[in-house]
């Protein structure tokens, strides 16, 4: 390879870098609320993995609090094995719920305890029932919530910890609550978590902040359950490709050396 080639290659690479930076910069366009405080999440970052204990505690918060209104329809009880529950524990969790199955041989729908293969039971029969029970507002499904919100984990944590008494000049509409991080500040959800809301079996202090942090990590896992596998595989793939690129670079140089 001659000097010109190397120069062009460098240029090409810098163009790549430029394009990637551009690409990285673009999504930021989408209304990132500057007031959203950034939290540290250990699962973020190139090699970050989920904090299993926190995810389990977060599941407890979801189960005891959020699941009263928020469905999680893309999750199955069996998925809980992935965050460290044993098959028997999963079975016991599933058995706490009753699901409708059928029709049976008589053509009737019947109720039975949920199995690990069942999807999480939704709190309402359908969206309309959910609205009717919630003052017209639809509690969003939580299966993809972290991926479906600008700001992801930070947004959810902020909403959970952002309930306040409204400033004097704010006139709340009926049934609304004041949240300093919610766009427009008026949110239909009442403050869901508070200090001591759940009691953790592992003795973790159950402050509002801890609960919010835990349930956010659970929701992050629910949104992207294959993240750890993805990152592990990614390291292998990238290492392989780097070596391959090295070999190809040398092969190419060897081939072209015949010309000069």
């Amino acid at each position: 390879m001659n000097k010109g080639d190397c120069k062009i290659m460098k240029k090409t690479l810098s163009l790549f870098v430029f394009l990637i930076t551009l690409a990285l910069a673009l999504p930021v366009r989408a209304a990132e609320d500057e007031t959203l405080p950034h939290q540290h999440w250990q699962h973020k970052g190139i090699l970050g993995v989920y904090d299993k204990a926190a995810v389990q505690r977060g599941f407890q918060v979801y189960k005891e609090v959020c699941s009263a209104c928020h469905a999680m329809k893309f999750m199955s009880y069996r998925n809980l094995e992935k965050i460290g529950y044993t098959p028997d524990e999963v079975k016991a969790v599933a058995a706490q719920y009753t699901v409708t199955d059928g029709p049976n041989d008589e053509g009737e729908m019947f109720e039975r305890p949920a199995l690990p293969s069942d999807h999480f039971k939704s709190p309402f029969k359908n969206d309309k029932a959910a609205r009717a029970a919630n003052n017209g507002a639809l509690p969003p499904d939580m299966s993809l919530l972290v991926k479906a919100r600008d700001g992801g984990e930070d947004y959810i944590f902020s909403i959970l910890t952002g309930f306040e008494t409204p400033p004097a000049d704010v006139q709340l509409m009926a049934g609304m609550n004041y949240n300093k991080y919610f766009p427009g500040h008026q949110i239909a959800m009442a403050k869901p978590l508070s200090d001591g809301q759940v009691s953790y079996a592992d003795g973790t202090p159950n402050s509002l902040e801890q609960e919010a942090r835990d349930v956010t990590q659970f929701l992050a896992w629910v949104s992207e359950p294959h993240m750890e596998q993805r990152k592990q595989m990614g390291i292998k793939v990238i290492l392989f490709l780097l070596v391959f690129a090295g070999v190809m670079f040398n092969t190419n140089r060897k081939v072209w050396s015949k010309l000069h």
């Binding site: 199955s76 293969s117 391959f244 040398n250 092969t251 081939v255």
Partner: protein, 177 residues
Amino acid sequence: MDSTRRAGGTRRDFLYLTAGAMGAVGVSSALWVLPNSMNPAADTLALASTEVDISKIQVGQAITAVWRGAPLFIRHRTPEEIAKERAVDWQSLRDPQKDEDSAVKAEWLIVKGVCTHLGCIPLGTKAGQPRGEYGGWICPCHGSQYDLSGRIRSGPAPKNLLVPPYTFVTDTLIRVG
């Protein structure tokens, strides 16, 4: 001069080989992912075991349950039926199998209701259906006949009806798969 050229040639060959091999490994492992996605997904695998309540099956009756998307025949055999099947000279059959091996509890015969010939569903489970010469099942597609131990007795099928792995959770509840 000659030896340097040869050395250069060897190095080049080595590079070619390495590059080619790495390319092949890279492409084939990428291509492995794709057909692998056609294997049963996690939700399908989660349904691979089924629990069936057998308390309501009367002696002499049979029911069809569903296991892994295919029919599962569960027959509550009478003492005469059991005696008949246990008396069969099983070693002379096409697919020799002892009745004691297929029916763990003698009164319960549990087999996958799929003919081992070409996958049709044999008749004989519901009352009034033909059950063939051997009193078990007869396949409507090519006339394979099975006895009440699920063994192939005549017709083109090569194997006995499959006995799935199952356990009795309680006396009236079985878990299949």
